[in-house]
Amino acid sequence: MPDILSPCAPIAAEPCRVGALSLAPAPLEEMVSISSFSNSLPALREAVLHALGASLPPAPGTATRQQGLSILWIGPNQWLACAPQGSGLMEKLQVACGAHAALTDQTDGRVTLTLCGPYAHAIAAKLVPIDLHPRCFGLSSVALTQAGHIPVILMQRDRQPAYDFIVFRSLARSLHHDILAAMRGGIPESEQN
């Protein structure tokens, strides 16, 4: 009977709550980075649409999201596809577009921390130096930015609002601490005019 390796997450699954705000790691998702090879973009777009039923986001700073699947823009000709565990995301992509793009498994490389609750944008504004006004950063907007000293991919998950902070796994605990500290610091009075 071989020993079974049990997976271990850097952040406990139970959400941390401060008032009506909550911070929790998203369930582990399959993540694959997609980076198109030279002159392959049209073919790649078609292949992804065919394989996943979803298109690569048309513009920088956006994500395509449907039925548990999200594809985030993460750089020029570069995307991050995320799907629930057991989706066989890598296998599907490899079959469909292995020739058009470099595909790299990032499932274990990133951790997603979700911040949600009323005034979540005011908490996020303590961490990221970008404009989170709905006109600038709305539902499914994506930004590559810094949360304090920590590089993150930020996506607005929900209009509520809720934000996904996608971070390198090794930095997840530091980021979790920093977001929690920002939550404990409260909503600035000027937000609540």
């Binding site: 271990c8 390198f168 005019n193």
Partner: protein, 1015 residues
């Protein structure tokens, strides 16, 4: 006129015992509630809305502090952030905060304030004797006086001077409060909420812009709260209140009170400090004391108003001498009269307002001293209105009253002097527009002769000045200007002009006048008896400025440094223009010719804690944790920082008494049996594409095209300048798929380098790469029994034999329970060794599994220290060798440089100096006596040579006690090193002053043939 010299009137019965100087409610006070605070231990009462200054004045406290240099008794000069005198210590213990301005400190129930810079008490300050030594303490005194003997400066003079001078005491303990940072964005940032600021915010918001209105005060309204201006038949402050309410209801407007915009930076970026919980006894749990804002604004309107100037005359610093505008603020906003019998001293019509306000508050105004000759009709009318004597063309020639003003000497236009009893002297030397923020981008102010002040005539793009900051003299003008600029700024920031909804501006009921005539020194010259202060905070007098002029320090920047004018917490806000005018007069030049200094951020003091935010202590920098972190901590490891990575340094056992003992054990275990170490921290870069091999060929010095799939190779990268940059192994996983490893320290730098190469140098290469450092838990399993341990873990179908999976092999493997991983046969220790990589989520479990299946072999986890010892034993270069100053040749890798291809650094590596055979080159060192410690950084000299720079032939880069060799060993760089194997040289450690003898040896101490490696 006889009654003028009478003594002060007695306290009238209508004033109660507490807060005897509170005459009315005041528009900014909640008079229905009483709170208590202490000043120097004395319990006093105040109302919510009071500042510490207004509360002290309400209680008849005039003496608040002692001055910096002469320990002169000082009171409250102003009612705002410009305050130079009334600096106190707030709170106690770890929260003690020195040099807090009483004029901006909001009183809360239980506030403890203490005067500072006095001993033993405020009233009886022994160091007041400093004043008697005033001739010694003139400008530049310590540069002149304490020059000899030089050695006395640090030990004797400086400590004495520091005790005598200086202000408050910082807390001795770490600040227990929280601070945080946040970012806000807007189309239009309005700084200041007086009439101009409110009108600007209203207009910009009405035009559809996102607006942030920052007010450093706790209330909006600015001067509308200090003055009795009527707007459309309502008090100005009521209009301000309504406008604020209106603005707060708009979704795109953010009003930030208690928020000081302290600096303007590049790209429309402003720094602001919000005092979140300074006005409460204890912040709520988690709540920050202060919050540092970065505000990014498309356009900015500065409606910062003005700062009133004091007048320079002998003994102008006594408690009870106050700016006329501040007097009005205390009377109207706080309902406090700062004295019972007042004299007004002004050079402009605005100062006259104090007479009316005091008179209506029941204060007797004995005289108006108007420096203008003839005085204005407004002055004559005011004197009649309040029943005061008018001294047109008069001056204050001196004052009396040691710890509080008792009388002034008025010199009339005929030169005759008389004494007037008074306990309040309201002075106005005119107003300076507050333009500090506008000068932060090196915009030089220009002198406006009509206004008698410096203004900014051409502000930086996107910046607009409104209201008195722009020289608007009346409330109506400020409102109109704010309104117009608010609308324009909204359009400048991209709002549609059509959306602008017209709003009616209120109109001021009275005509307001200024009619200033310059007055820079009451008596026209500096050389009079008595100290005529220009800079109260730094005790700089008119004489000091004259002295600076005589001694050649007349340039404004020299004047500042020589006299300390304009330094410290108030940055000379009330002093600078008077000083420049004095210097201009001394030099016979105009103020415009004399010029002015510009200011740097912050415009108000800003605590370092606020700048640090949450990044302090353990959270100063983020930590990166490898996947086995929790297990390693459980196993009792000692952690060390490797950049921001936290790694296990060693794993002590309970019976071990020193780290050396632990590390020796870990090394012996690996060399004799098996050990493992988390090496996840090494950078891992996934490289794919048809041109992947081409990229590797160009960034590494050695050849890559022929590397077969399933093999790894050591590679060395150079910088463009030919020096070694980084090293590591790269494995070929498939035809067009490689995984590169870098050193832990350079992981980010190598990624950046590759991005630069691809994006800028060779965008045509069809190659893609991305970091997978965090995706894989990579663990080195090393030692003669490592294969046995792996056999227990890796699926049986994988052949681990040396023949099937030899040194530098690389393969995708499956663990026995089905988890997919990668296996590399790499060795940093020189032993038979593997690196096994599994998805990071399994790293913790893998460590536990290795401990279990390795137990029969005595497996031991080892940390970075043992890792370091073993790589030195094996002669592998690492950070200390790849220090940015060594070449491939220096590292003994000159032959790796391919001659068949081009690569980064190739041409520059061939520079003559870099090819000099005499360059220090990698060698090993062994002391003649095994226990002689070799220390990294030690210098290598020929045996018997003097320990001087001329004899220096190299250095030690890394050293360790080797439990394998049972001796100290070292790696180092020695001139002509490889030819000197066997030679005995001297190792000089200048820090310890020791010289020991060591033998030069090849830099591989263990298994030089590599038989263990290939076993």
């Amino acid at each position: 006129m006889n009654d003028l010299s009478a003594s002060l009137p007695p306290e009238t019965g209508r004033r109660g015992k507490t807060q005897p100087m509170r005459w009315a409610r005041g528009n900014g006070i909640r008079g229905d509630k009483t709170i208590r605070f202490t000043f120097d231990g004395r319990v006093l009462e105040a109302h919510p809305g009071d500042t510490l200054a207004s509360a002290l004045l309400a209680n008849g406290v005039r003496l608040v502090g002692r001055s910096f240099k002469y320990h002169r008794p000082r009171g409250i000069l102003s009612a705002g952030p410009e305050e130079p005198n009334a600096l106190v210590e707030l709170r106690e213990g770890a929260q003690r905060e020195p040099n807090s301005r009483a004029t901006v400190t909001e009183v809360f129930d239980g506030l403890a304030a203490t005067s500072q810079n006095r001993w033993p008490t405020l009233k009886h300050d022994m160091l007041g004797a400093n004043s008697l030594l005033a001739p010694v303490f003139s400008a530049g005194f310590y540069y002149k006086t304490f020059m000899w003997p030089a050695s006395f400066w640090e030990k004797v003079y400086e400590p004495i001077i520091r005790r005598a001078a200086g202000l408050g005491r910082a807390a001795d303990e770490a600040d227990p409060d929280h601070y945080e940072k946040a970012t806000a964005f807007c189309d239009v940032l309005v700084v200041g909420s007086g009439p101009a600021g409110l009108a600007a915010a209203r207009a910009a918001a009405g035009a559809g812009a996102r607006v942030i209105l920052c007010e450093q005060d706790s209330l909006t309204g600015g001067r509308l709260r200090a003055e009795r201006v009527m707007l459309d038949d309502r008090p100005g402050w009521a209009w301000a209140q309504d406008t604020e309410k209106y603005l707060r209801a708009l979704p795109e407007v953010r009003i930030m009170t208690r928020t000081c915009v302290f600096g303007r930076y590049d790209g429309g970026c402003f720094g602001a400090l919000e005092r979140v919980a300074d006005h409460v006894a204890v912040p709520q749990a988690g709540q920050p004391r202060q919050r540092l804002w970065r505000i990014v604004a498309g356009q900015c309107i500065l409606a910062t108003g003005g700062i009133e100037r004091p007048i320079v005359f002998p003994d102008n610093d006594r408690p009870g001498i106050m700016l006329a505008g501040a007097v009005r603020s205390y009377v109207n906003r706080f309902g406090v009269v700062p004295g019972r019998q007042a004299v007004i001293y002004t050079n402009n019509d605005d100062g006259l307002r104090a007479a009316a306000d005091l008179h209506d508050a029941g204060v007797r105004v004995a005289a108006i001293v108007d420096s203008r000759q003839p005085s204005s009709t407004a002055a004559q009318a005011m004197a009649r209105q309040v029943g005061a004597a008018l001294f047109a063309g008069g001056a204050i020639a001196g004052t009396t009253g040691h710890t509080g003003l008792k009388a002034v000497q008025v010199r009339d236009s005929a030169g005759k002097t008389r004494r007037l009893a008074c306990d309040l002297l309201a002075v106005s030397g005119g107003w300076n527009p507050d333009i500090a923020l506008a000068t932060h981008h090196r915009t030089h102010p220009v002198y406006d002769d009509a206004l008698n002040a410096f203004v900014v005539s051409s502000p930086a793009p996107g910046l607009h000045l409104a209201g008195f900051a722009a020289g608007a003299l009346t409330t109506d003008a400020a409102l109109a200007q704010g309104d117009a600029l608010g609308r324009a700024a909204a359009q400048g920031a991209g709002s549609d002009p059509a959306t602008g909804c017209a709003m009616v501006l209120p109109r001021a009921a009275e005509k307001e006048g200024y009619a200033i005539a310059p007055l820079w020194h009451a008596l026209g010259r500096a050389g009079q008896a008595g100290k005529a202060f220009i800079d109260f905070q730094n005790d700089v007098t008119a004489k000091d400025v004259s002295l600076a002029a005589r001694e050649g320090f007349w340039a404004v920047e020299h004047l500042k440094r020589y006299t300390t004018l304009g330094m410290a917490t108030d940055q000379g806000k009330t002093a600078n223009v008077n000083a420049l005018a004095m210097m201009a007069w001394e030099r016979g030049r105009s103020i415009a010719q004399t010029g002015t200094t510009i200011v740097r951020p912050p415009v108000q003091p800003c605590a370092i804690g606020a700048l640090a935010g949450t990044h302090r202590g353990r959270h100063f920098k983020p930590h990166r944790l490898p996947p086995t972190h929790d297990w390693a901590v459980e196993a009792g490891c000692v952690l060390t920082s490797n950049g921001i990575w936290q790694r296990a340094q060693w794993y002590p056992r309970p019976d071990e008494t020193s780290w050396q003992e632990t590390v020796n054990r870990e090394v012996r275990s690996v060399r004799s049996s098996v050990g493992f170490c988390d090496v996840t921290t090494l950078g891992k870069i996934d490289i794919q594409g048809a041109d992947a091999a081409t990229l590797l060929e160009r960034v590494y010095v050695n050849a890559w095209r022929k590397l077969p799939v399933g093999r790894a190779r050591y590679g060395l990268m150079l910088r463009e300048d030919g020096f070694a940059f980084d090293d590591g192994t790269t494995a070929r996983l498939a035809e067009n798929h490689y995984v590169m490893t870098t050193t832990t320290a350079n992981a980010g730098a190598v990624m950046r380098h590759l991005e630069f190469c691809h994006q800028c140098l060779w965008p045509g290469l069809d190659v893609r790469f991305i970091s997978v450092t965090d995706a894989w838990a990579q663990i080195a399993v090393a030692g003669p029994r490592s294969r046995d341990v792996l056999r227990e873990i890796i699926d049986e179908s994988f052949d681990l034999s040396n023949e099937a999976f030899g040194y530098m092999g690389a393969a995708n493997v499956r663990l026995r329970d089905g988890v997919g991983g990668r296996l590399f046969r790499l060795s940093f220790s020189g032993e038979l060794a593997y690196e096994i990589a599994v998805p990071a989520r399994y790293g913790d479990a893998l460590a536990r599994l290795l401990m279990r299946v390795g137990a029969p072999y005595g497996i031991t986890p080892y940390g970075t220290e043992a890792l370091g010892v073993m790589r030195i034993e094996k002669g592998h270069p690492a950070g200390p060798e790849l220090n940015g100053q060594t070449t491939a040749h220096d590292l003994g890798m000159g032959r790796m440089l391919s001659r068949k291809k081009d690569f980064i650094g190739r041409a520059m590596a061939q520079r003559t100096a870099l090819c000099d055979a005499a360059r220090p080159t990698l060698i090993g060192l062994k002391p003649l006596h095994a226990s002689d410690a070799l220390v990294a950084g030690a210098h290598l000299l020929p045996r018997g040579a003097p320990a001087d720079a001329a004899s220096d032939q190299g250095w030690i880069s890394s050293s360790a006690w080797s439990p394998t060799v049972e001796s100290w060993i070292a790696l180092g760089f020695l001139s002509h090193g490889p030819q000197r194997h066997g030679e005995v040289i001297a190792v000089h450690n200048p820090l310890a002053g020791t010289v020991i003898e060591a033998q030069v040896v090849p830099p591989v101490f263990v298994d030089p043939e590599g038989s263990r490696l290939h076993a």
